[in-house]
């Protein structure tokens, strides 16, 4: 079988880093080819080179046997290469049709022929089983449909090589199943697919072959039928990986946080958290599982005072903290490693030292009579940098200059150092490499062992299963089940997260 795409010895540099170093990727016609690598390994860069968004410094690209230069996405489109982006490239205020035809509009007497376009889109969507409403606005349709629009964009342009960039990250399990079906159908119709992912199970489920890259370097290409998840993981990380977390059984003590009948509305005014109740005890890690958008973020925001609770109550050590200002919540003993560290966790233009005192700058010893004491601030920073192994040139370095893992370590240092009774860790390892993930998991367990109550919110089921003691599953704003981590499995959690009832009796608590 011939190769439809050959990317040979690609090198792409950015100021200060080599994102792709001599990577080779060869895709056969009619296969689903996985591109596997850790976060930051250079997968997206490589695909952006193929799609014409970046120009490589070295290397050649051969499409269907012909050497080509892909200078911009137009060229890629003409070569039949289409990309389904991880962050959807859709104009929210436009309709489905307008988004699909953008840049390639059918015309009648100088004006866009929307009717003709919509008809054509309906025809393609029927052919591949991609249900969409051509006249709906993007802002009004589901995430799943938005992804189908993304796929249609490429098909409308006649693409027969489709790149899927982490397509399952935002989908529900049903939507993932549907997507797998669509991908298989596409391949049957003669298309070739490159699937960018770091999820081993997806590769095992749909892919024919897999190319692995690590830290910008190509590691090799394997047939999926000849390998297994452990081998792929080792290739991806560069050593044997044990995704399990070593820890002793939890010794839960008194109740630290008690949430009763909590109702929280989201930005659109819909109940995101609905009559939710839960108790969390000192010395245990509760994993908060759920598909994105089922109220986990809103629950955490309500506890930390960032979002108003409509009704219900939140008690910390028996004291009411419902609807306190964030500062009061912090002062009463809550630590919060936020979901989005760049948006919430750090002021990137401040130095590490200044970030270390983000919640305590106004207190002694960092501030006396309203005047800052910088020597004290930086002394504190030096101590924490040492204790938490934050790799930074100095405490004066802007937070922006640190790697994601070290930024996260600095945040954790700050939050843990205040000795909070209750620690929230929301997606603490998102986007980090395996080394950093392991270190952060160990730290969370250590805090538990010190007697803190820890709430771990994550969208990664592996993380939830490995780190938590008990798992609370959220679905449509409610906790549908609380299960012991060592008595459940991914399949059961997946069902619960999708709103399925618990299989056996014995609800925890």
């Amino acid at each position: 079988m011939s190769h439809v795409i050959e990317m040979n010895n690609i090198r792409k540099e950015f100021p200060g880093i080599v994102a792709n170093d001599n990577i080779t990727l060869q895709v056969k016609k009619g296969e689903i080819h996985a591109l596997l690598g850790e976060n930051g390994a250079g997968k997206s860069t490589l695909m952006n080179v193929l799609f014409g968004l970046y120009q490589p410094e070295k290397g050649e690209i051969i499409v269907r046997g012909e050497k080509v230069k892909i200078t911009d996405p137009n060229v890629a489109n003409k070569l039949g290469i289409g990309m389904v982006h991880q962050h959807f490239m859709l104009v929210e205020k436009f309709t489905v049709t307008e988004n699909i035809i953008l840049g390639n509009e059918p015309k009648k007497a100088g004006r866009i022929n929307i009717k003709k376009a919509a008809k054509e889109i309906e025809q393609i969507s029927e052919q591949y089983g991609l249900r969409v409403d051509p006249y709906a606005k993007i802002e009004n349709i589901s995430v799943g449909m938005q992804q189908r629009v993304e796929i249609l964009k490429t098909l409308y342009r006649g693409a027969d090589i489709l790149i899927f960039d982490e397509p399952t990250a935002v989908l529900t399990p049903q939507e993932i199943q549907e997507l797998i079906g669509i991908m298989k159908k596409l391949v049957n119709e003669g298309k070739s697919i490159i699937l960018i992912t770091h999820k081993l199970k997806e590769i095992m489920a749909v892919c024919d072959r897999c190319t692995v890259i690590r830290r910008g370097k190509g590691i090799g290409t394997v047939d999926v039928s000849d390998t297994n998840p452990d081998k792929l993981a080792a290739m991806m990380v560069g050593r044997e990986v044990n995704f399990g977390v070593e820890k002793d059984p939890a010794v839960p003590k008194e109740v630290v946080l008690e949430v009763k009948d909590l109702v929280v509305k989201d930005a659109r005014g819909v109940n995101a958290v609905n009559q939710l109740s839960i108790e969390m005890k000192a010395g245990e890690i509760i994993g908060l599982a759920g598909i994105e958008g089922n109220g986990q973020s809103e629950l955490i925001e309500a506890i930390t005072g960032l979002r108003k609770a409509e009704s219900g109550s939140i008690l910390l050590n028996g004291k009411e903290i419902t609807n306190l200002k964030p500062r009061k919540v912090t002062q009463s003993g809550v630590g919060h490693i936020p979901e989005d560290r760049h948006k919430h966790g750090l002021v990137l233009d401040f130095s590490i030292g200044e970030n270390i005192v983000l919640q305590t700058y106004y207190q002694r010893p960092f501030s006396k009579g309203g005047i800052l004491d910088y020597p004290e601030i930086y002394k504190k920073a030096r101590t924490l940098i040492e204790d938490f192994d934050v790799r930074t040139p100095s405490e004066y370095t802007p937070a922006r200059a640190l790697s994601g893992g070290n930024q996260q370590k600095a945040i954790i240092a700050r939050e843990v150092d205040r000795s909070p009774d209750f620690l929230i860790a929301a997606q603490p390892t998102r986007g980090l490499d395996v080394g950093a993930i392991e270190s952060i998991h160990r730290r969370i367990v250590k805090e538990r062992d010190k007697g803190r109550a820890v709430l771990l919110m994550s969208l990664e089921l592996d993380e939830i299963l490995n780190v938590s003691d008990r798992i609370a599953v959220m679905y449509e704003g409610e906790i549908v089940a609380i299960v012991d981590a060592d008595q459940t499995n991914e399949r059961e959690l997946g069902l619960l997260m999708a709103g399925g009832k618990k299989e056996k009796e014995g609800e925890a608590e």
């Binding site: 960032l306 200002k325 500062r327 919540v329 948006k343 919430h344 233009d349 983000l358 919640q359 800052l372």
Partner: protein
């Protein structure tokens, strides 16, 4: 949008404004050449018009005074993530308020003068409060609101003068001497320029801005809000209150700038046919000064000097004074385009020239 005018490298943060000033002056010279003037004659007349006589030095210092304060106003807001384009309007209301207090009361100087300055600050603060409040409460972009507030200030102030404070000559009465910043001493050592004690007020304001922003917990908070509102909120800061406070402080700097005109340079307020320009110059000053107190001071010196020297340039070399407006516009252009200056300098560095 902030990282562009908060340079990272120390060296670069000096180099960019210097390159910008150089390019502005260079293109100004080219414009003169094309227009048939001799740039050397013109620029030397300009320099003479700044340094050659104690009168010119006095006038330069005088014209710097409102520029410094307006520049500080813009810089303070910038630091907290806000673009106060409404300094102009805040200057105008500050001017009127200080003059009104200067006219309406009879008090000993120890009370009257500070009171008149404070009145200017309060009026400017009020004018800054409105866009700050609208930004905090309704997320309205402060740029548009402050532009609109400028016009409201202009029309309203003219209306108030015309209706309630008018004396012949399309102006208010002259303020009482107890509210005046005018200084016979400063005038006498500068060959009877209009130099007044306002320059000292402006210098104090520089120190105040530096102290608030870099030494106080409140300044830390304001800067945090300026860089990242979400993180500030998460850290327990009151973002809305800080936005309002920032605009209020910025507006009070601007109001004091107006007071300097009212209590120092003029001693009255006339009906304005258009904007004073002080507020817009303040934007240029803050940009060129990289939003630091010392930078604002130096940039004010440059722009104040250019504006004063331009008069001599016009009378001696015959070059229209507006040439200086062109030069200032180009300097802003190049400072704002610092990305390209950095890019070029990096290229030069790389190639080892």
């Amino acid at each position: 949008m902030m990282e562009k005018w908060l340079p990272k490298g120390r060296l670069l943060s000096f180099a960019v404004p210097l390159v910008a000033v150089f390019l502005g002056i260079l293109i100004g010279a080219i414009v003169m050449l094309v227009s048939g003037y001799n740039p050397f004659v013109a620029y030397s007349a300009l320099l003479q018009g700044i340094f050659s006589d104690s009168y010119y030095v006095g006038e330069t210092l005088r014209s710097m005074t409102p520029l410094i304060l307006a520049g500080l106003a813009v810089a303070f807001a910038f630091r907290t993530g806000l673009f106060n384009i409404g300094v102009e309007g805040q200057v105008i209301v500050g001017w009127l308020a200080s003059v009104y207090v200067g006219i309406a009361f009879e008090l000993p100087m120890m009370i009257h003068l500070p009171l008149a300055i404070i009145a200017g600050a309060v009026a400017g603060a009020l004018w800054g409060f409105i866009p700050g409040f609208l930004k905090a409460r309704f997320q309205v972009h402060e740029v548009i609101v402050t532009i609109m507030m400028n016009y409201i200030a202009l029309y309203t102030v003219n209306y108030i003068i015309r209706s309630y404070l008018l004396v012949p000559g399309e102006r208010t009465e002259t303020i009482s001497p107890t509210a005046s910043l005018a200084s016979p001493f400063l005038q006498s050592i500068t060959d009877y320029s209009r130099l007044h004690f306002g320059i000292i007020v402006a210098l104090i304001a520089c120190v105040v801005l530096w102290f608030i922003l870099w030494k106080t917990a409140k300044g830390y908070e304001l800067r945090a809000v300026g860089f990242n509102q979400h993180a500030s909120l998460y850290a327990g800061m009151n973002v809305e209150r800080n936005i309002v406070l920032s605009m209020v402080i910025s507006g009070s700097f601007a109001g004091v700038a107006g007071a300097m005109e009212g209590l120092g340079t003029y001693g009255y307020m006339g009906i304005l046919s258009g904007f004073t320009g002080v507020g817009f110059d303040g934007i240029a000053v803050a940009l060129l000064g990289a939003n630091t107190a010392i930078g604002v001071f130096l940039a004010s010196f440059l722009f104040g000097g250019l504006q004063v020297g331009a008069l001599t340039m016009q009378s001696r070399a015959g070059v229209p004074a507006e040439l200086i407006d062109i030069v200032i516009a180009l300097i802003i252009f190049f400072v704002a385009s610092s990305y390209i200056i950095r890019w070029v300098m990096n290229r030069i560095k790389k190639e080892g020239i």
